[in-house]
Amino acid sequence: MTSADLTRRTAAELADLLASGEVSAREVTAAHLERTRAVDDRTHAYLHVDEEGALAAADEVDRKRRAGETLHAAAGVPIAVKDVLVTRGLPTTCGSRILEGWIPPYDATVVRRLKDAGLPILGKTNMDEFAMGSSTEHSAYGPTRNPWDLERIPGGSGGGSSAVVASHQAPWAIGTDTGGSIRQPAAVTGSVGVKPTYGGVSRYGLVALASSLDQAGPCTRTVLDAALLHEIIGGHDPMDSTSIAGPVPPVVEAARRADVSGTRIGIVKELSGEGFQAGVQQRFDESVQHLVDAGAEVVEVSCPSFTYALATYYLILPSEASSNLAKFDAMRYGLRVWPEGIEDPSAEQVMAATRDAGFGDEVKRRIILGTYALSSGYYDAYYGSAQKVRRLIANEFAAAFEQADVLVSPTAPTTAFRFGEKLDDPMAMYLNDIATIPANLAGIPGISVPSGLAPEDGLPTGFQVLAPAMADDRLYAVGAALEARLEAEWGGSLLGRAPDVQSLPLPAAVPATHTTEA
C-alpha cells in the first residue's frame, strides 16, 4: 500500500489495517509526515511537527504488537493536536507570541489519554491566538489556508485541526470549541467536528479561553471516526472539577447504527433564513429531507432568547478570558520584554511591556472588554445580565428538547470567506458563530457534518445537530444517518471531491494580520 493510499484511509480503516498487521504504525505515521512535508507549505496547518516523537511512539506500538501485548483498538493511528492543549516536551503556543518557546512540563488529560491509547502525536495545529477568532487569521504565526481554496479561511479558531484532517495530513485531530471553534472549521472544510457535552471531556491542560465554555473534541473525516476518538478522550477526570462523573454516552454504537427512525428533528426558527447564504440554506433543507426520508419527523421550535446569544457570549467570554489570560505576565515562563527607555524597570513595567508586545489586537480587544464588563459598577449590568440570559437560553433549550430529540441548523451562515474579508469588522467575524454559540452557553453537545457544496461558490457547507447534555450519542446517530445518505447520493465522501492540495499553486503570501503595532 502506498503512503498516499494510507493518508486517504479513515482512522477506523487504519485501525483495522494495523490490527490485522497489514501495515505498521511506523508506516502509517510516516505516510502522514510525508504528506505534511509535501503540503503544509500550502496549508500552514501545523505550528509544530514532531517527526521524531511521532515515529518513536509508532515504533513503540509496533513493538508491543509484535510482543503480543493488548493494545487499544486505535493504537498506532496518528493524530494532530490543537496547539491550545499542553504537551509535555512539545511547544505549546496557543497561536500567541507570548508563549513562544514555552515547553510545558506536563500533558493535558486529553493528550495523556491519546498517548495511553497508543496514538502517535504528529504535531500541534495552528489556531487563532488563544482561540479567539473564526478564521485563524489571528494566529501570531500566520493563518492556515483552506484546503478547498488556498485564498480562503479554514474557519477558526481551530482551522489548523480541521485543515490537517481535510488535507490528509492527519487521519484525525483534537480541536477545542468555545463558541464553534470545532464545528465551524469542520463546516467550511467539509469535515466532521464534534463539541461534546460541557464536562464530557477533561479540560485539564487545555489553556483556558473561557472556562465555562471551552470543550475539547474530535475533528475527523467521518462520523464514526469522531465517535471512536470521542470515546478515547471522554470520561471523568478528577483533575477537572467541572468534569462529569459518569460513563461516556454510547457514541460509537450510535454512529454504527445510524438509526433515525422515529427521531424528532427540531428546526430552530432563529437559526436559519435571514443572514444565511442561499446555498448553505439549500443544502440544509435537502439534508433535513434526507433525514425525513430515513424515518425522522420534523418539528419547528422557537428559542427567542437566541437573538441575545451573541451579545451574551461576548460578555461572558471576554470576562473569563481577561482573568484567564492574566497569568501571562513574563514572571515565570514565556515571553519577557524589557520596556524601552526605562533604566530599572519594575515587575509591573515588564509585565505591561510583555503583554503589549506578546498579545495580538483581538486578544487585547477581548481583555479590555472583559476587564470593563467585570468592573465594579458595571458587573451587574454586563456580566450579571449575561449570566441571566445564559440561563434563559439553557431553559429554552430544555423546553425545545421536550418537543424534539435533537435540534438542527446550518453550522455556519456562510461558506469559507476570503482572507481579510472580515478582519476589519469584528462584528461580521463574530456573526459567523451565530448558530454554534448557543450550545456552548448551554453546555450541550453539537456536531457538524458536511451537507454538500454551496451551488454559488462550490464550497463546503455544514449541517449542525444539537442534543441535550450527556445525550451525545444522538449527535452520532443523526450525523451518521445523514452522512450515509449523502455519500450514497454523491457516490463517495465530500472530501473525495476536494482538489488535491498538492497540485494547487502555492498562493501569494497572505498578509500578516497579527501586529504588535497599534
Binding site: L85, V86, T92, C94, L99, W102, P104, P105, Y106, A108, R203, Y204, G205, L206, V207, A208, A210, S211, S212, P238, M239, D240, S241, T242, S319, E320, S322, S323, A326, K327, F328, D329, M331, R332, Y333, D344, A347, E348, M351, T371, L374, S375, S376, Y379, Y383
Partner: protein, 517 residues
C-alpha cells in the same frame, strides 16, 4: 497632651494621651484574621504544605498557575472551614461558590486569587472572650460578633533584596517562593466591635488569643503567629462620644503577636485621637505596624481604582455541604475554650488568679496532660510555672515549646512529685532534682541518684541526732516541755544542719515533740 512618636521626622505622627482619647471618643474595632490550615496538601492541588522546605520545591502546574492547569478543592480544607464556622457559632452556607479576586502581583501565580466573595462558607457568628471587668475585680465576658469566615488560597512569598527595610521600596530585585502559594487559608472577619471603650486594646488581644486557643483546640492550624500561620489585620476608627456614626478607619496590616495586637490598637486610637481632636481627618489607608518602635506608618492609600473584579470561579463547582455532613462535623467540635477553662479550674481547684496566670502563660494543656499522667494539679502548676517558665521567658519562648526543646515531659513532673510523696526528697531537694532535669541530666530519679539527693531514712541516725541536739539545748527543751511548742523550730534547724539537710523537716519536728511531751 499631644506628643510626637519616635522614629524619623518624616514618619513621626502626633498621638493623644490615651485617657484623653477614651474620654472624648469611642473606638470601633474590626479584626481580620488569616489562618493557614495545616492540611497535608494545598487548597487546590496535591502539593505538601510543610513549613520551611527549600524554596519552590513544593509546587506543581496547579499552584504555579501554569497554562491549562485547573484547581480541585481540598475536601479536608472545606471540612476544617465548616468546623471553624461552627465553633464560631456561624451559620453554614447551604450552597456557596469560590470567586476570583483579580489583581497583578508577581507572588500570585495566576494573577488572581481564588477566594470567596459574597458567598462565604460561614457567616453570622460570635465568639465570647474574657476581659478584665469594667468595674471592680475579676473578669467578664465580652461578645465579639463574627461577620464571616471564608476560604481562600495563600499567595507566594516575596523577598525583596537590596532595599533597607526588606520592603519593595529601594529593592534591586525580588525573589519569590511559591511553596506558600495555594496553602489553604481561612479569613475570619469580625463585625464592627463597638462598646469596648477604653478596654478596646484588651478586647482585641483577648479575641485573637481566644480565637487562637479555639483553632488550636479544633486542631485545624498550627496557629503560630511568629511563623505567619496566623496573621492579624486591625481596623480601627474613632467616633466622638455619643455619636453612632462610624469614623474613617485605618487598616493596620500584619500585626503578628498578641502583644502587638494590643499595642497597635492602643497606638492607632492615640494617633486617630490626635488627628481628630486637632480638627484633621483620618485618611483611609493601610498602615504598617513596627514591632520595634511600637508605631504604625502610612502604607498605601485606598482608592476607588482598587477594583478586584470579583466573579464566580468558573473552574470550580459550587460547594453545597449537606446538613448531615454539617451535623457530623458539629459532633467533632471540642469544648469551647471558655467553658473548658471553667471546667478545668473547678476540677483543679485553682483560684481565679491562679487560673488566669496559667492561661496567660499558655500552661493549660501542659497541666492537663500532667494531671492526666498522674500528678496533682497543684504540683503540675507549681513545677510548670516555676523555674522552667522563668527560663522560657528569658529565651522568648512559651513553656510548652521550651519544654519540647529541653525534652522535659509531664512524666518528669509526675516522677518528681512521687519522689516527694514517697519521702525520698524534701522540697528543696526536689528543686535541685528539677534543675538537673532542666539541665538535661536525666529523669528526676536519675538526677537524685547522681547528685546523692536522699532524705535519711535511717531513724537510728536521726534519733541520735535529735537526742544530741536536745541534750545540747536543755533550756529550749524545757520550754517545749512547758508547752511552748513554737520553740521547736530552733531545734529542727540544728537537727537539719547535723543531718546536712538530708532529713524530712516534718519528721524531725514530730520526733522532737514526741520525745519532749
Amino acid at each position: 497632651m499631644t506628643t510626637m512618636t519616635g522614629g524619623t521626622a518624616a514618619s513621626a505622627e502626633a498621638v493623644l494621651d490615651y485617657d484623653e482619647v477614651t474620654s472624648a471618643f469611642d473606638p470601633v474595632l474590626g479584626l481580620e484574621v488569616h489562618v493557614e490550615l495545616h492540611t497535608a496538601t494545598k487548597m487546590f492541588c496535591g502539593c505538601p504544605t510543610t513549613f520551611g522546605a527549600a524554596p519552590n520545591t513544593q509546587v506543581c502546574p496547579v499552584c504555579l498557575g501554569l497554562p491549562g492547569a485547573l484547581p480541585v478543592v481540598n475536601a479536608v480544607a472545606v471540612e476544617s472551614a465548616i468546623r471553624i464556622g461552627l465553633a464560631l457559632n456561624c451559620e453554614i452556607a447551604q450552597w456557596c461558590r469560590f470567586a476570583r479576586k483579580n489583581y497583578f502581583y508577581p507572588d500570585m501565580p495566576k494573577n488572581f486569587q481564588i477566594s470567596q466573595y459574597d458567598e462565604p462558607i460561614a457567616f453570622n457568628g460570635w465568639l465570647d472572650v474574657e476581659v478584665p471587668a469594667e468595674h471592680g475585680e475579676g473578669t467578664e465576658v465580652f461578645r465579639v460578633e463574627i461577620e464571616r469566615a471564608h476560604m481562600e488560597e495563600d499567595t507566594g512569598k516575596s523577598t525583596h533584596i537590596g532595599g533597607l527595610t526588606g520592603r519593595i521600596h529601594g529593592a534591586t530585585h525580588s525573589l519569590v517562593d511559591y511553596n506558600r502559594a495555594g496553602i489553604p487559608l481561612i479569613e475570619i472577619v469580625t463585625k464592627p466591635i463597638v462598646g469596648a471603650g477604653e478596654r478596646a486594646p484588651e478586647v482585641a488581644r483577648a479575641y485573637v488569643a481566644t480565637l487562637r486557643d479555639l483553632l488550636k483546640a479544633l486542631d485545624v492550624s498550627d496557629v503560630k503567629m511568629e511563623q505567619g500561620s496566623m496573621r492579624c489585620d486591625v481596623n480601627l476608627s474613632l467616633m466622638p462620644k455619643g455619636s453612632s456614626q462610624f469614623g474613617t478607619r485605618s487598616e493596620t496590616k500584619n500585626v503578628n503577636s498578641l502583644r502587638s495586637v494590643e499595642r497597635a490598637v492602643r497606638f492607632e486610637m492615640c494617633r486617630h485621637g490626635a488627628v481628630l481632636s486637632s480638627g484633621g481627618s483620618i485618611v483611609q489607608e493601610t498602615r504598617h505596624w513596627h514591632e520595634d518602635t511600637g508605631v504604625t506608618t502610612s502604607g498605601r492609600v485606598k482608592s476607588d481604582a482598587e477594583d478586584y473584579r470579583y466573579f464566580p470561579e468558573p473552574d470550580l463547582v459550587p460547594i453545597a455541604p449537606s446538613r448531615e455532613l454539617v451535623e457530623e462535623l458539629r459532633a467533632t467540635l471540642p469544648e469551647p475554650p471558655t467553658e473548658r477553662r471553667k471546667r478545668l479550674q473547678n476540677g483543679w481547684g485553682f483560684s481565679d488568679l491562679e487560673m488566669r496566670d496559667v492561661v496567660n502563660a499558655g500552661l493549660v494543656e501542659l497541666i492537663e496532660e500532667t494531671v492526666a499522667a498522674g500528678a496533682s494539679p497543684a504540683a503540675a502548676r507549681k513545677w510548670w510555672s516555676g523555674e522552667i517558665a522563668r527560663r522560657a521567658n528569658a529565651e522568648g519562648q512559651d513553656v510548652p515549646t521550651y519544654a519540647g526543646v529541653l525534652g522535659v515531659t509531664p512524666a518528669h513532673v509526675v516522677e518528681l512529685e512521687s519522689l516527694i510523696t514517697s519521702g525520698r526528697l524534701n522540697d528543696s531537694m526536689a528543686r535541685q532534682a528539677w534543675e538537673g532535669v532542666l539541665a538535661g541530666e536525666g529523669t528526676p530519679t536519675q538526677v537524685a541518684d547522681a547528685r546523692g539527693l536522699e532524705l535519711v531514712q535511717d531513724t537510728g541516725a536521726l534519733e541520735a541526732a535529735v537526742d544530741e541536739v536536745i541534750a545540747a539545748n536543755p533550756d529550749i527543751a524545757d520550754k517545749i516541755r512547758d508547752g511552748k511548742v513554737q520553740a521547736v523550730g530552733a531545734l529542727i534547724g540544728q537537727v537539719m544542719k547535723a543531718m546536712k539537710g538530708q532529713a524530712d523537716a516534718a519528721a524531725v519536728r514530730e520526733l522532737i515533740i514526741g520525745k519532749l511531751t
